[in-house]
Amino acid sequence: MTKNYKLTDVCPTCARKLEEEIKKIDGVLDAKISVISEKLVIDCDGEDLQRILKEVKKACKKVEPDCVLYAD
């Protein structure tokens, strides 16, 4: 399943790093960030969404502390 999120304050370089980090999360199949439309699309096996979201947020904090993530 795919989940859409909005995210703010990511520069293109951080976006690429963040994509890599999110792809490493267990259960995430693919992640794409559009800097222009400020969107994050995650493709995941919908088992443990709560945990995945938590880890995605953690990855955001790690790569770009300013980045805010919220549901689209």
């Binding site: 304050d9 520069c11 293109p12 370089t13 951080c14 690429r16 790093k17 794409k32 559009s34 800097v35 222009i36 439309s37 400020e38 904090k61 790690k62 790569v63 502390p65 300013d66």
Partner: protein, 616 residues
């Protein structure tokens, strides 16, 4: 400006005040240091904090950390003004960049503002507003004057005019009468319309356009991939160079530590490629957004790149360069008035559903009095035999005339001839031909003038017809009598002929030409969002069926690519120059930070020009 940006602006003002005070007035060294430190911390505190977090998470090549090192380093070697200035200008640049980026996001959003917010439906005798997603196929919606049509459908009741400019870029209003199909995204100008919904919202024109544009970001152009790859190596390379610069000359050549460290710090200031990186996708997105506003949907940056290198443009004939609607183009009467000949033919053919008889009836223009016709008999491949006003009339092709032994005139025109005879006497013939679109010839001319090497026409029609239209339109080549498979074959031959690093563009109306659309470097489907297969296969979809939009698509692709190249060359050039000058000690940290911030802002502003293509 949003809240975050405003807060940054206040911090910049505070910082600038302290900075100016320290620069303008003469103070004791200690007081000066305090003033610079206050100025520095006002703008740089948050960066230092983020840098600390970056270290904690092991993110070394992060711009926050690099800026922190550059500025702290400057303070350590005693260059207080530089230390504060670097951070101050860096933050000014960040603020400008964010504002410019927000602006462009907003312009793109405004451009794509075709999503309807609500639909009016009648429930229990009352009109209520519901979200377009909730409306089902077969429901009737009310669109009042001034409202956006929320879903695709057919006019059930009412008559009005529609503004289709947000879909097609055309400003001429279109009539919407009972029975007409209406596309979502249009704006109803004059009177209320009751529309019977034919497609759910997810499949509506608006939803499809938005999806296409949104997905276009995924298909990246080569230029964009190049920059992303470049960015990956640029920062580590610059940082390593800075490290070497700071350490090697003092150790090896006995250089002055302070001097070389200073040069290295100037290096760090220019180490972030972010603005350059974002200006490229921004240019492409701007180009795609601008194009979509013009009724040209481009499925990705890679197709903008390919379109800009068009060398051969191949057109399908029927429905693309011609209207695909058959009309009476000439009446050649013998022993009778032209109008009477047309009347007899229309009457004789009145029971036929063949496209030719439809054209005859359309040209006749009056309701056909079927009581004057009796014993009509149609033979497929020949024509009609009927009694009109009690006289035997033959209307059909040459074979029909031969069958009944009637001498006929050989037509000299292109098109289908309908010969007519009454009671064994030949009365002449009527020619029915496809009409060329008004802007076809002009488009072909303009394509040639714009550096397209070859224009080609493919058609399933016979050679005479193909040659006639190709000549009329000024095509370079024409291939006639082709079946869909033959068209693919021909395009493959042409693909081998094109110049290296150039592209072949195929333009069709989406009927039966999906294989060719796929095979060409760029497949352009005309006539909007009619056939789903064509939209899937095409790389570019034109909302209306004007050939001149092909020219617009090529021109705006070229403009977008020019902007992209300008940005790459300019930004890289300035960065390398600054690195060079800083390395040899000519440019100081001031100049480095100015160059870096300045280039970013200019590149983003330049990218915004791609958006303005549509406002011609």
């Amino acid at each position: 400006m949003n809240k975050k940006q405003k807060r940054l602006l206040y911090r910049i003002i505070v910082s600038a005040v302290f900075f100016a005070a320290a620069m303008i007035f003469r103070f004791e060294k200690e007081i000066e240091l305090i003033l610079f430190l206050v100025s520095y911390l006002a703008v740089g505190g948050s960066i230092l904090l983020k840098a600390a977090k970056n270290i904690y998470y092991g993110q070394v090549f992060n711009e926050n950390l690099l800026m922190a090192i550059a500025s702290v380093g400057a303070f350590i070697i005693g260059e207080y003004p530089e230390g504060a200035a670097v951070m101050l200008f860096y933050q000014v640049g960040e603020l400008f960049e964010k504002i410019a980026l927000d602006r462009s996001r907003k312009s793109i959003k405004a451009l794509m503002n075709i999503r309807p917010d609500y639909a009016n439906i009648e429930k229990d005798g009352q009109i209520i507003e519901v979200s377009p997603e909730e409306v089902k196929v077969g429901d009737t919606i009310l669109v009042k004057a001034g409202e956006k049509v929320p879903l695709d459908g057919i006019v059930e009741k009412g008559a009005s005019t529609l503004d289709t400019s947000s879909l097609t870029g055309e400003s001429v209003p279109k009539d919407a009468l009972e029975g007409d199909a209406v596309l979502s995204g249009c704006i109803n100008i004059s009177r209320p319309l009751y529309i019977k919904v034919t497609r759910p919202f997810e499949e509506s024109t608006v939803a499809k356009i938005l999806e296409l544009v949104e997905k276009s970001e995924e298909k990246k152009a080569r230029a964009e991939n190049f920059i992303t790859r470049f960015a990956k190596y640029y920062t580590p390379a610059v940082v390593s160079a800075a490290l070497l610069l700071a350490v090697v000359p003092p150790l090896v050549a006995n250089g002055d530590w302070n001097d070389w460290v200073y040069r290295a710090l100037a290096f760090l200031v220019t180490s972030c490629p972010c603005a350059l990186v974002i200006s490229i996708p921004l240019s492409f997105f701007g180009g795609i957004g601008g194009a979509s506003r013009n009724g040209i949907l481009i499925k990705g940056g890679n197709f903008i790149e390919a379109l800009s290198k068009a060398d051969i443009v191949v057109f399908d004939k029927t429905g693309t360069l011609t209207k695909g609607v058959f009309k009476v183009s000439g009446i050649y009467a013998q022993n009778i008035e032209s109008a009477d000949l047309l009347e007899i033919a229309a009457l004789a053919e009145c029971y036929s559903n063949h496209p030719i008889s439809q054209s005859l009836k359309a040209a006749y223009g009056k309701p056909v009095d079927t009581t004057r016709v009796a014993n009509a008999e149609e033979t497929a491949g020949f024509g009609v035999l009927a009694e009109v006003d009690g006289k035997t009339v033959l209307a059909g092709n040459e074979k029909l005339m031969r069958k009944y032994g009637i001498a006929f005139r050989q037509p000299q025109n292109v098109g289908t001839a309908v010969h007519v005879a009454r009671d064994g006497v030949y009365l002449g013939y009527i020619v029915i031909a496809d009409e060329v679109k008004p802007d076809s010839a002009e488009t072909i001319r303009a394509l040639k003038a714009n550096g397209i090497r070859k224009t080609v026409m493919l058609t399933g029609d016979v050679k005479e017809a193909g040659d006639y239209y190709a000549n009329l339109l000024g095509m370079d080549e024409v291939y006639s009598g082709l079946l869909p498979a033959g068209k693919v074959e021909q395009v493959e031959k042409l693909l081998e002929e094109k110049e290296k690093n150039k592209t072949l563009v195929f333009v069709g109306d989406g009927m039966n030409d999906t294989p060719v659309l796929t095979r060409a470097d760029v497949g352009i489907a005309m006539g909007g969002l009619g056939t789903d297969a064509a939209i899937e296969a095409a790389d570019v979809v034109l909302m209306d069926d004007q050939p001149k939009k092909v020219l617009s698509a090529i021109q705006l692709s070229r403009k977008t690519m020019r902007i992209v190249k300008e940005n790459i060359l300019f930004a890289l050039g300035v960065k390398l120059l600054v690195l060079l000058l800083a390395g040899v000690g000519v440019a100081d940290m001031w100049e480095a930070v100015f160059a870096d911030v300045g280039v970013s802002i200019i590149a983003i502003l330049n990218a915004l020009r791609a958006l303005k293509i549509s406002k011609r």
